[in-house]
């Protein structure tokens, strides 16, 4: 059944571009919405549909399913906001086609069971992303996309080299086969080198410090719906999910590797948060915040314990939700004020109450305030660090959440609180295409946060 998750979006692209395009133009967007809803449904309630042809070797455990769910939810809100923000019909049609390619790539990443297919799907998604970032063909976006391509090229090279070296030893690219092969000779320096460059490639894709150079530009220069998609799921699926999958299914956790993950994670948390504190561009602050939040996921993973990995995946999910919501808020503000400079805003909450409230809740979830969803995942990660004996990292994680709160409160104060400025007296709340998705995401944040104790029992990790 999981083959459908990859094949259906790809087939859709072909069907949409068949000769009767004129008719497809209109329904494409609704079709995409329906597809994302169908994916949410199928992830939550799996149906076993046997494929008559083309049996792919796929597997979906609970981690994959969590990521598939994220992808579907974020895709849904991306499409809604795109419908609202992209006015030209054929532009929107192109956008939807690119989204389908992205979707096929990301679903592929989450479902594959061999590292070469992993590489291929990562590349598919990445190529679609470059195009999406430069969708409006403006200078900033080209520059951002170019940086992304350059760093991704380096990542691709490292990944391919890593795969080649691993192939030398295992003779196969399947996760299971590599795992068995690594058990025979785990500590040869060639293998360690191969693993190192493969992981670093994923660090680049995931935008961790110091591999993050492309990320702030790409997030802030991309069109608003693309920012939502990129921050919410693309980098998370390519880099972070890839890393989790490789660590859990292929390499396994040993001491130095955990140390490396923990260190990179903590570095990302602290430096990302400090950098976010210094930003005055709404989306750039969110971009640096993403780096910081991804750091939490990585140190959770770095514990190597079931609890830590659970925390990491849960935080990945939460991050996808609250960061998408915040990017939607930034889009709402930008669409009304025409700027992303926070120094030119003030007191917008009085004019844009829905945006204001959803952003406060999303920020608080990101900063880890109970009872919102983000609190639980951070708590689990910190507890996992503590019980695994990485007390220093636990303290770093706690202290950094103070900085997180600091920059998010500064964001709130500069954008939404306070007295409204003269020149923005006449602005109105953003349209339903931006507020409805934000409300849905905020509802998920609150719902998951409150229902977490029940969810924890329901999910058998």
């Amino acid at each position: 059944m999981y083959s459908w998750f990859i094949l259906f979006p790809l087939l859709s692209v072909i069907i949409l571009n068949l000769p009767f395009r004129g008719m497809m133009n209109k329904i494409a967007i609704w079709y995409a919405l329906a597809l994302s809803i169908a994916q949410v449904y199928l992830v939550l309630f799996p149906v076993n549909i046997v494929m008559p042809f083309l049996q792919l070797n796929l597997n979906a455990d609970i981690i994959s399913r969590a990521v598939l769910l994220c992808i579907a939810i974020v895709l849904f809100v991306t499409i809604l906001s795109a419908k609202y923000l992209i006015k030209k019909e054929d532009k929107l049609f192109n956008f939807v086609n690119l989204l389908f390619i992205c979707l096929a790539g990301m679903n592929g990443v989450t479902l594959v069971t061999d590292i070469f297919s992993l590489y291929v799907f990562i590349e598919i998604t990445a190529v679609a992303s470059y195009t999406l970032i430069s969708f409006y063909k403006d200078k900033d976006a080209f520059e951002a996309a170019f940086k992304y391509i350059m760093l991704s090229a380096m990542a691709s090279a490292m990944m391919l080299a890593g795969i080649a070296l691993i192939m030398l030893i295992s003779g196969d690219t399947g996760f299971f086969a590599i795992r068995e092969a690594l058990k025979v000779s785990p500590h040869s320096s060639l293998i360690v080198f191969a693993i190192a460059i493969f992981i670093c490639a994923l660090f680049i894709k995931g935008g961790l410090m110091p591999f993050h150079g492309w990320l702030p530009d790409a997030y802030s220069a991309a069109p608003a719906p693309v920012s939502v998609l990129l921050a919410g799921v693309v980098t998370k699926t390519l880099g972070i999910y890839g890393l989790i999958r490789i660590m859990v299914s292929v390499i396994g956790f040993d001491g130095p590797l955990k140390q490396a993950l923990l260190f990179i994670g903590a570095l990302s948390i602290v430096v990302g948060a400090l950098a976010a504190l210094g930003q005055s561009d709404f989306k750039r602050m969110l971009a640096y915040s993403s780096i910081s939040q991804v750091g939490y996921i990585i140190i959770g993973l770095g514990t190597g314990t079931a609890l830590g990995i659970f925390g990491a995946v849960f935080h990945l999910f939460n991050h996808a939700i609250f960061k998408s919501s915040l990017f939607l808020n930034s889009a709402a503000v930008e669409s009304r004020l025409g700027t992303r400079d926070m120094d030119k805003m003030n007191g917008l909450a009085s004019k844009m109450p829905v945006t204001g409230i959803t952003s406060v809740i999303s920020c608080l979830s990101a900063a880890g305030l109970p009872p919102l969803a983000g609190f639980w995942s951070k708590l689990i990660i910190i507890v996992a660090l503590w019980v695994s004996g990485y007390r220093v990292y636990a303290v770093v994680a706690i202290m950094a959440s103070v900085i997180t709160l600091a920059y998010f409160l500064s964001l709130q104060r500069r954008v939404f609180f306070g007295r409204i400025k003269e020149d923005s007296m006449n602005i109105k709340e953003a349209g339903i295409g931006l507020t409805l998705p934000a409300v849905i995401l905020t509802a998920i944040i609150i719902g998951v946060g409150i229902a977490f104790p029940f969810l924890r029992d329901a999910i058998k990790f």
Binding site: C200, H212, G213, P256, L274, A275
Partner: protein, 612 residues
């Protein structure tokens, strides 16, 4: 008669006090009627209860706590005294308070005070007593606070001083309950050593502070100026003495066995002696009728504490007798002050003078109560003071000397007060002053008559009210009524009184007026410096406490600023220093970012290879 009647002295004023509060000040007559009715009912009930031995008990609040009341030979006359004073002073207040603001609050607090005081006297459980005792703190605050415009500050002062000593008492009650295993007063019997002594001291602080002894007295002179006068006549002059000394007697005689040899007894006597002398010295130099009286209210407590502290029968009897005498003449004196205030509009001695002929009844009442307080035979103060002297001399000449010095200054200051207020030249403003109305004179006359009766027929209070308190065994067959047995002491007293009179005459002759009759003492070489500082409140423990609290607050503020600076200043500065460096590093050049990634990858690879 059922035992439930014991609840009446508490419930009648309580309910009527609450009821009064429902009326606005426009219904003056209704408020007055209800108050007077409640006070007379209380008085009737107290008279009915006189000489009854009753106890009443009700489970309360769970935890095995009993709401128990007990009426016996000691509480009889305290209860009667409370009801009588309450009635007389309400009668007096009706005219005195007529045009004042907060009428309903005044009467409500007044009645509640009567209720709580009755409850505290009747309570046979320390916790129940504490409940009523703390209720008195509230009404005390309320009654002072409704006075003049400075009254609120004074009310706060009184509240803090009395509140702190009440806390001591609370600690004492907890400790006593812990040591004795019960809170029922009549079952407690502890010895005065170790923790027992500590418990006694805590309870004693509560008792003597309620009575207004030094060093817990400083709110009284302030309240004398700021609070409504009937409050002064009722609470500091009568109720607080009755309650404080009642409780002191109970803890010394019933709950703890205070023996003449113990250091606690010496401590009590020392407190008494110091209070007598210092307070009367302060009274001497006052220039205000009410403030002068208030210092005497403090000074006289010294005699009672000294008497009870002697722990010998004659001293205790003297102390208790002095308690009831003081309540009589001190409230009489305050009432006379009220009459003067009502008729002339002032109590400042510099503005008074010569009104004795225009207010003859008030003047006569003043003379009788003043000679009573000075201890002139054959008035009541003389007999109780002689008993205290007797007890004090038995324990040490120094205490007797202090008491005698106190007597000298008491007489001197009342000679000054009477001379300055009632004799001498009358001012233009007071030319038209008339005698106070009968309703105000009547309570004062009753009290004054009682002073005379308790003096001439001292067998009546001593045999029937006070000596039974100690019981036959403790009295060892003595009877202290009648004229004092020790003629030497009487002669010494008379000599001191004559000396005070001569001193006054000499003072008037040299300084030229009654008001300045004691200036030679006020401006004596060493004393004048001490007086100046005392008048500036340098010795007021409350002001000292305020200064210390102020200092502590300043230090705490500095600490707070330091912590704030740590977070708001240093932490933020350090954070933003890092932030600036990070921003500087992000130049936007993709080659730099590529280099970072490459270096990062090399470091990760090297680290992994070398550590595995």
């Amino acid at each position: 008669m059922t035992d439930k009647i014991l609840l009446l002295p508490i419930i009648i004023p309580l309910v009527s006090g609450a009821m009064v509060l429902l009326f606005s000040n426009r219904f003056r007559r209704a408020i007055e009627m209800i108050s007077l009715l409640a006070a007379s009912l209380s008085l009737l009930v107290s008279i009915r209860l006189f000489k009854e031995n009753l106890s009443f008990s009700l489970p309360w609040l769970g935890q095995g706590l009993e709401f128990s009341l007990k009426l016996y030979h000691f509480s009889w006359f305290i209860l009667l005294a409370i009801a009588s004073f309450g009635f007389l002073i309400i009668l007096y207040s009706i005219l005195f308070m007529r045009n004042k603001a907060y009428l309903n609050q005044f009467y409500s607090y007044f009645l509640l005070t009567i209720s709580f005081a009755s409850g505290a006297v009747l309570a046979d459980n320390l916790l129940i007593m504490l409940f009523f005792w703390e209720g008195l703190l509230l009404t005390l605050f309320g009654m002072i606070a409704i006075g003049n415009k400075n009254a609120f500050k004074t009310a706060i002062k009184a509240f803090i001083i009395v509140g702190i000593t009440d806390l001591c008492m609370m600690a004492g009650i907890i400790l006593t309950g812990h040591l004795a295993g019960t809170l029922a007063i009549s079952k407690i019997s502890l010895s005065l050593n170790g923790l027992g002594a500590l418990a006694f001291i805590f309870l004693m602080i509560g008792a003597i502070s309620k009575a207004g002894s030094m060093p817990f007295h400083t709110w009284i002179p302030d309240a004398a100026i700021d609070a409504p006068l009937p409050f002064m006549a009722l609470v500091p002059a009568a109720f607080e003495k009755l309650l404080g000394i009642y409780f002191l007697t109970r803890i010394s005689l019933d709950m703890f066995q205070l023996s003449p040899g113990s250091w606690v007894s010496v401590m009590l006597m020392a407190i008494g002696a110091i209070t007598i002398v210092l307070a009367v010295m302060m009274a001497l130099i006052q220039k205000d009728y009410k403030r002068l009286l208030s210092y005497h209210a403090i000074s006289q407590v010294g005699y009672m504490i000294l008497g009870i502290g002697t722990a010998v029968p004659v001293g205790i009897v003297g102390g208790l007798f002095h308690m009831i005498n003081n309540a009589l003449y001190k409230s009489g004196l305050f009432l006379s002050g009220g009459c003067v205030e009502k008729q002339t509009g002032s109590t400042d001695l510099r503005e008074l003078g010569g009104i004795g002929t225009r207010m003859p009844v008030t003047f006569i009442c003043f003379i009788i109560t003043a000679v009573s307080i000075s201890g002139v035979p054959p008035f009541n103060g003389f007999f109780s003071k002689e008993l205290v002297y007797d007890g004090a001399l038995e324990r040490g000449w120094i205490f007797y000397a202090a008491a005698l010095i106190g007597s000298f200054f008491t007489a001197a200051s009342f000679l000054k007060l009477g001379h300055a207020a009632f004799l001498g030249k009358i001012s233009e403003k007071n030319k038209g002053v008339k005698e106070a109305p009968f309703l105000m004179l009547a309570p004062m006359i009753v009290v004054t008559l009682l002073c005379v009766i308790f003096g001439l027929y001292n067998q009546l209070p001593l045999r029937h009210l006070i000596q039974p308190v100690l019981g036959g065994i403790r009295m060892e067959g003595h009877d202290f009524s009648g004229f004092p047995g020790n003629m030497k002491l009487v002669l010494a007293t008379v000599a001191v009184l004559i000396a005070a009179l001569l001193n006054h005459i000499w003072g008037v002759k040299t300084k030229g007026s009654g008001l300045k009759a004691v200036d030679h003492i006020h401006h004596a070489p060493i004393l004048s410096g001490i007086y100046d500082r005392a008048e500036k409140r340098y010795f007021d423990p409350y002001d000292m406490g305020l200064k210390i609290a102020d200092l502590a607050a300043k230090i705490a503020f500095r600490c707070d600023r330091a912590v704030d600076w740590l977070y708001d200043g240093l932490a933020v500065k350090v954070t933003f220093a890092f932030t600036r460096q990070i921003r500087k590093a992000h130049t936007g050049s993709y080659s730099a970012y590529l280099a970072w990634s490459l270096i990062g990858a090399i470091l990760v690879a090297v680290f992994l290879i070398y550590s595995t």
